[in-house]
Symmetry: C2
Subunit: 220 residues, 2 copies
């Protein structure tokens, strides 16, 4: 069977990381064409022989050099005018990485690549501003009822690190004692036995997530 003319199918990937106390997303600056100078999500067309998930994984690796991270489908954007160059539909995904995973490919096709604070986005191409805002909301709500924070932290971390991730993404401060109580109660983490010394203060116990795959948990 041969299908008639149809919009192009692309995927765009929101790669989130918490860096220096800010929720950041990896953006690429477009080097030519009508969107020259604007920033965009890493993305690309879906090939005939790959699933949507596979396309997103490929883009993640090609554009950000990232493998084995958390990835989930976000939403599909299909406004007629979302790309002035032609009709396309974009299946947006979001990925979570911690600083360690990041190893961006640099090519001269792009004018730039870098982490941008989601609260201070630069001028963006296509409908990508909307996509980022949508993704931030989804991320915040998933944080409350799943363990996906594991994907944003290194294998070992302190409870203060963990709390800070929650605070940055939710955009509000949390009570230290109540936070710790809840985290322990739902058995989100376990002690690793070692400590971290960071200077002129009391050393902190290090923890690891008890599960390193997505699980539903009532965290907050």
């Amino acid at each position: 069977m041969h299908f008639p003319k149809s919009p192009a199918v692309a995927t765009d990937v929101l790669i989130f990381s918490v860096l220096e106390g800010k929720l950041c997303v990896l953006l690429i600056q477009i080097g030519s064409g009508p969107y020259k100078g604007k920033w965009a999500l890493p993305g690309g067309l879906v090939e005939m022989k790959e699933t949507l998930d596979e396309a997103a994984l490929r883009i993640l690796e090609e554009k950000a050099g990232v493998r084995g991270v958390y990835l989930e489908q976000l939403y599909t954007f299909g406004d007629v005018d979302r790309d002035v160059r032609g009709r396309s539909v974009s299946v947006a995904y979001f990925a979570l990485v911690n600083g360690d995973h990041y190893n961006p490919r640099t090519t001269d096709y792009y004018a730039g690549i870098g982490w941008k604070d989601v609260r201070r986005l630069p001028a963006m191409a296509f409908d990508h501003k909307k996509v980022v805002e949508f993704g931030v909301k989804r991320l915040a709500s998933k944080l409350a009822y799943s363990n996906i924070a594991y994907a944003l932290l290194p294998r070992e971390f302190t409870l203060s690190d963990l709390q800070s991730v929650y605070e940055v993404i939710l955009g509000r401060t949390l009570d230290k004692r109540n936070f710790r109580k809840k985290i322990q109660e739902v058995k989100l983490v376990k002690e690793t036995g070692s400590m971290r010394r960071t200077g002129a203060n009391r050393p902190a116990k290090l923890y690891a997530f008890s599960q390193s795959r997505p699980t539903l948990v009532d965290v907050l």
Copy 2:
């Protein structure tokens, strides 16, 4: 700009209704081709000049004669082998209707059309079984924190009607007094002043939703 070959873009719409105490979905029986005899969701290709939402609305009207109902994007399914006739990506939507809205178009292209209990699905074409199951889960979870039940009930209804919709979709019974307490507390509904008499028992007060557009409310 001209895009290279890309999967076809379709939308499929899950049309839910609660009928005779069962959560049902409107399905069409395919009349020819490799999926002949199998049941499928109403769907079709997205046209070049319409957004995804518009395509879903068009299908809703063309296939089910339904207008002005609740509609929301569900998920996009894009496995390579989801349609044996060729590579396609399907943006699934779900719609909520009450019995009144239903006025299906009958065409001889289809071998049949009808409401099917989501707990007893017939043999389904494509990946549509997966799509329905995904949609049922989403619907159940949205019921708990939004007022979308309004779209499944007529303008006036009793609190028992409402509770029954919740019970059918959640798949468990709810305590009558606690349910009513919560519903009133969050001001989900208001009395209309009239009553419904249904035979040999006490008449029930009729209620209407205080909001007839999607709103976030902590119902349960």
